[in-house]
Symmetry: C2
Subunit: 336 residues, 2 copies
DNA sequence: AAATGTACCGAAAAGGTTTTCGGCGAATGT
DNA sequence: ACATTCGCCGAAAACCTTTTCGGTACATTT
């Protein structure tokens, strides 16, 4: 089963020109819609190109133009659910043009990141998008890169870089407001690891919103891990120590799933006795649960789309810097 | 905040040569470890290259060599959990060499797929990996492409293409064997949509294994959807109609989660009263559940790694065709 | 001292495309 | 009939790197 048939050599512009009986210059102009070429000639070239299924060599084109129409996306967590929506948003925003996205996974490893950076730069990408798996600031790729860079989700520590980050303070505040507006008065917060900027920001937003209503945060913010198991444990303790609780804001959807499981096993109805909200709006978790989980969506696709636009602008000489915060939105379902 | 500082122009080999006081030819040879260059000269070139942080232009190199050191990966489901492990496996296998992976998301849309295919071919990728989200055969990209193609997870309908697919028949059979070897005798199967080759294959494997032991499949294969909700519903019916059931094989981990929830709420212990197995081994589901879920892993990273090797071989003229089945493995946890 | 060999370096071509600019033929104006 | 304009086409340069091959300078041999 070992064959060795070299596939047909790819056709070049010269082949097209020869077949159409014109020069390569004319063929090029005809194919690219330049003027200065007679309609009949153009038609001849087009059919010739079609006949031998000519595909212009982007390498040669990029070499000449100094632009390749590609951007590199270096991500820290391919397994994660953050970088993918961002990638899709970016692809969509670029899509209408002729940009392609070169994706690399550094897996949080600085060495691998450097390796991929070199690979991308040598392939002359027109720009870079750097995606992290946490909203904590991360080291900059450096100031004197030959192409513009946009940091997404994980901001750069360098103020001169441009970073796009979801506004977790606002997201947290909105989630609290949401429960308050639904009549909840005894709200608790169970979140993930304390070392994450995401947890800290959301806590800050929640506390701000609660105090603006003169309400306490029942039991204070409970830090743990980002797992269902922690959600179950924390919820068990919470309903024992604070049976008055009527709303639980969770640090992510997995914690919320754990919380949901525990409170329902304790005989509490959701949302009757207590409302529960998740964070991230990870569909497979939010719609799989019973009842379906209200959650906070960080609009990651929009984040990716904005990254694409900002990068596009920067490539065209119009670059910004600093941190841009993008709003989160609440997706109401059945647990509130 | 709108600046317009064009970043420094990238340095070329000519710059290096000038700085080192040699010709470009010598500079090239020095940098690429060719012989015919004096050690002192080579050293001069290397420091010169370092000083101006020279990065060879992969476009020019690729144009000349006819090889770009890149492969395209066209996937159908970026949101899905299948293509990502495959991508990572492929990246790992390539990683040691100097291959980079160009990822595109076609979202199951033939038009978008064609678009990306053209984009990749024009960028002169050395090969293509096509990943689908279902194991059902998919249309071939065509026989006369200028580069080799490997189809992964979703096989091509064309026997002349090379396809790499997890062996779901074996996976199903092994899962049944596993429960039987643990002493279960009344095994049921709750799976997803009937139209999926994956469901059909697994059912076939399960039925084969059961009948080889002279055991019936309790209630027959139950088809539904790939959701937790279906798992809950099907389990409720199952334990009512077949209270003798002591093992449940599920079509995926989400169904298993639903089953788990229902049987536990009915007061059955797991694995005491009934064993439960998932499929896919999606960590976030299998380890988040209580008890943690035994599941079948399709070894997707290995699949991706093999795809990379096969593609590499094909690029070097050693190509195969047909469908290769890769074994699945069982990951025992607490539900069995 | 002449001839041969060795070690190193540089000129040039190649790869495919785009763009500029000069040129050629035909049509128009006088 | 001549000059001018206009429309269209092609030659050539440019992008950057790699490789081949000829050449130079020096050391070695006879």
């Amino acid at each position: 089963m070992v064959t060795t048939d070299k596939p047909q050599p790819r056709s070049t512009l010269r082949d097209v020109a020869r077949l159409a009986g014109v020069s390569v210059a004319t063929a090029s102009k005809a194919l690219n819609g330049r003027d200065q070429v007679h309609p009949d000639t153009r038609a001849r070239v087009l059919v010739a190109a079609e006949r031998i299924s000519f595909t212009p060599n982007a390498l040669a084109r990029g070499l000449l133009a100094g632009q390749t129409g590609t951007v590199g996306l270096i991500t820290g967590d391919l397994d994660g659910r953050f970088s993918l929506p961002i990638l899709m948003g970016a692809e969509d925003a670029f899509g209408k043009g002729k940009m392609s996205v070169f994706l690399c996974d550094a897996r949080g490893d600085a060495i691998r990141e450097k390796y991929h950076l070199d690979a991308l730069l040598s392939r002359r990408v027109d720009g870079l998008i750097v995606v992290g798996s946490r909203t904590d600031p991360r080291p900059s790729l450096g100031r004197n890169l030959p192409v513009p860079v946009v940091y997404v989700y994980a901001p750069s520590t360098d103020e001169n870089d441009l970073s796009l980050v979801p506004d977790n303070v606002q997201g947290g505040a909105d989630s609290a407001e949401f429960l308050v507006s639904r009549g909840r008065r005894h709200i608790a917060h169970i979140t993930g690891e304390t070392g994450y900027a995401a947890s800290q920001d959301r806590v800050r937003g929640i506390e701000r919103a609660m105090s603006s209503h003169g309400l306490p945060l029942v039991g204070g913010a409970q830090f743990g891990s980002w797992t269902e198991q922690w959600g179950r444990n924390a919820a068990a303790q919470l309903i024992e120590q604070h049976p008055e609780v009527d709303g639980i804001l969770c640090g992510n959807d997995q914690i919320a799933r754990g919380v949901l499981e525990t409170v329902r096993e304790a005989g509490w109805t959701v949302p009757g006795r207590v409302a529960v909200m998740g964070y991230d709006n990870w569909e497979v978790f939010t719609t799989g649960s019973r009842p379906q989980l209200t959650s906070v969506d960080m609009n990651l696709e929009a984040l990716g789309a904005l990254a694409a636009r900002r990068l596009f602008d920067a490539i065209n000489g119009d670059s910004r810097s600093g941190v841009e915060l993008l709003p989160c939105r609440i997706v109401p379902r059945e647990t509130t």
